[in-house]
Amino acid sequence: MTTASPEPNTNAAIPDAATQVDIYRRMSLISQNDEAARKTVKSGRLMMPYYSPKGQEVIPSAVSVNLNDDDRICTIYRGTHDMLAKGVPLRDLWAEMAGRVTGTCKGKGGPMHVTHPASGAILTTGIVGSSMPIANGLAWAAKLSGSKRVTIAYFGDAASNIGAFHESLNLASVWKLPVVFICQNNLFGEHTRFENATSVDQISKRAAGYSMPGVTVDGNDPFKMYAAAHAAINRARDGDGPTLIEAMTFRFYGHVFGDDDHYMTKEEKAAALAKDPLPIFRARLIADGVATDAQLTELDADIRAQIEDAIQFALSSEMPPIEELTRDVYAEAGAA
């Protein structure tokens, strides 16, 4: 973990055995869910823009085990991993991706706008950078109400170059808000390489410009990611203000489903894929005696069944009734 911050995290927290398995469970859920989603889109059974998070599953998994249900996350179009890790139910998520009335948002938001307050998934935005200003507001509310809620703002590396990033980090610092900014640096913004768009080699270095701790961490290492998140979340919960975490990772399937990866070399892609965090962590859990292969196999199978169930549920659900078109524009039904 590189530190570009005024307050380095020295006492790295270590997840206990149960927590490690919990992180694995979330990773497996994300990874299997992604496979199912890509398959469903490819087969034409789902029509949606799909931004695969495969490769980034460690980040929200290791973050979320540090969160309570009522802690908030604000995520982005590439957000199914963040949502699932935070507890958005599979059925509701799939139904939303399928545009069904049984979805989190009655099918009106779609995959880019999944919202599920019960699990703390308050916002999914399709606008680069816009998770951050709103996360501040949620954190402000928590602070005002005296609750100990923490808010996580997820965003990508390329989002660190847009104005909202800057305004948000500055305000969070000045107002000492209980928010954690988690940049999932997957080395690309659409087809543009990180280093061709971003004028600093580590986004965490920008934290110093806001007098905020900033760390760059291996976002594919569950232990390092857990420790960084643990420190930042505790800091926020204790009223000590925001942190910027840059979690280094990689997206396995390009920007959006259908992307042909022309902008990267075969070698770099192969190298990244060879480091798939899921099997690596799985092997480690077994090697460390934290879980047996059989246990994890059962867990994986359980998840697979749940995903299958969710897909069936979604695809057999109704489309929203046509009256929904003009509902929810305002509190009372349909103005104009």
Partner: protein
């Protein structure tokens, strides 16, 4: 029922609305540049005294970061607060349109009703005070064209108070437009907190020959024009829309049905302005009843000029309203 009133200007009236609302409801917050008392309670004093009275937690001055301001308001609103955010001048909404339009306006819809954004966004604007091209625009047509927002523009201090109370109470995001050059004008304002309903127009003056439809400070100019027309024996009814979106179609139709003639007056550029929607609707709904084409007055299709003579020429003057009203009586 008599209502106790006091002479206040719009600054004082809005200030009073905020104070009374904050007193009654601890979830109401105020944020924006320089809004706390340490910074003078707002550049023109609309929020003066509020931070002293309700604390700096509830009344917060912000950095110059309009996206962060509206974002903070949205997030706090989702989790139970009712923030009143100030964007100092309407032109500065251009640096935070994403927050207003893609987020505040749409979150209720996109979340299927789960997350709601009961915020008020206050702003001042208007030509006539030598502020030039980037500080004077009326951009209400943009917001009126945005589903999910309500757009309110009071014409006088009493309405400013009553409409602000309603905006604060409203469960949806409201754009609240204050006309800078009218801040000094006083009027009788109810002492108590009496909300004025959104979406309902007010007949500012009754008349029978022609209906003048307007909002914000232009209502005053319509009233001046109406007095002028009166001398010529032309009886003008003046409708103050109060709320631009949703506008009170019924009230306007009722008046124009009666008079058969209408002129719409706003400060914004005429072309593709709010007046177009109103004129189109009137023509559609009263196709055979209208005695003359609906007149539409607004600024010429130019940025706001600085030079005093050009700036006055840019603004719709009462004389032009008189002429447009006369024209509706002359034709056909």
């Amino acid at each position: 029922m008599t209502v106790e009133t006091k002479k206040l200007n719009a600054i004082q009236a809005i200030n009073q609305a905020l104070a009374q609302a904050m007193e009654a409801d601890p979830t109401i917050l105020v944020l924006g540049e320089d809004v706390a008392d340490r910074e003078g309670g707002g550049v023109v004093g609309v929020t003066k005294g509020l931070s002293t009275r309700f604390g700096e937690d509830r009344v917060k001055s912000t950095p110059i970061s309009e996206q962060a301001i509206i974002g903070a308001a949205i997030g706090a609103a989702i989790d139970g607060y009712k923030p009143v955010a100030e964007i100092m001048l309407m032109n500065f909404t251009t640096v935070c349109m994403d927050m207003i339009v893609n987020h505040a306006a749409k979150l209720r819809y996109m979340s299927g009703g789960q997350t709601t954004v009961p915020i008020v966004i206050r702003m001042m604007t208007g030509a006539g005070i030598a502020s030039g091209g980037q500080h004077s625009d009326f951009l209400e047509a943009w917001f009126a064209h945005t589903p999910g927002l309500k757009v309110v523009a009071p014409s006088n201090p009493a309405d400013a108070k009553g409409l602000m109370l309603s905006c604060i109470a409203d469960p949806d995001p409201c754009i609240f437009i204050e006309t800078s050059r009218a801040y000094g004008v006083t009027g009788d304002v109810p002492v108590d907190a009496i909300p004025i309903p959104l979406g309902k127009a007010r007949i500012a003056r009754e008349g029978s020959d022609v209906t003048l439809i307007s909002y914000a400070e232009m209502v005053t100019r319509c009233l001046t024009a109406a007095a002028e027309l009166d001398k010529e024996g032309i009886s003008a009814e003046v409708i103050d829309l109060r709320t631009i979106s949703p506008w009170d179609v019924e009230a306007v139709l009722a008046s124009v049905r009666k008079t058969g003639r209408a002129v719409i007056v706003h400060e914004a550029v005429r072309t593709f302005g709010v007046g177009a929607e109103i004129a189109a609707t009137l023509h559609e709904k009263l196709f055979r009843e209208l005695k003359a084409p609906v007149g539409r007055l607004g600024a010429p299709f130019t940025p706001v000029p600085f030079a005093g003579n050009l700036e006055q020429a840019f603004l719709v003057q009462p004389g032009a309203i008189v002429e447009a009203a006369r024209a509706t009586l002359a034709t056909h």
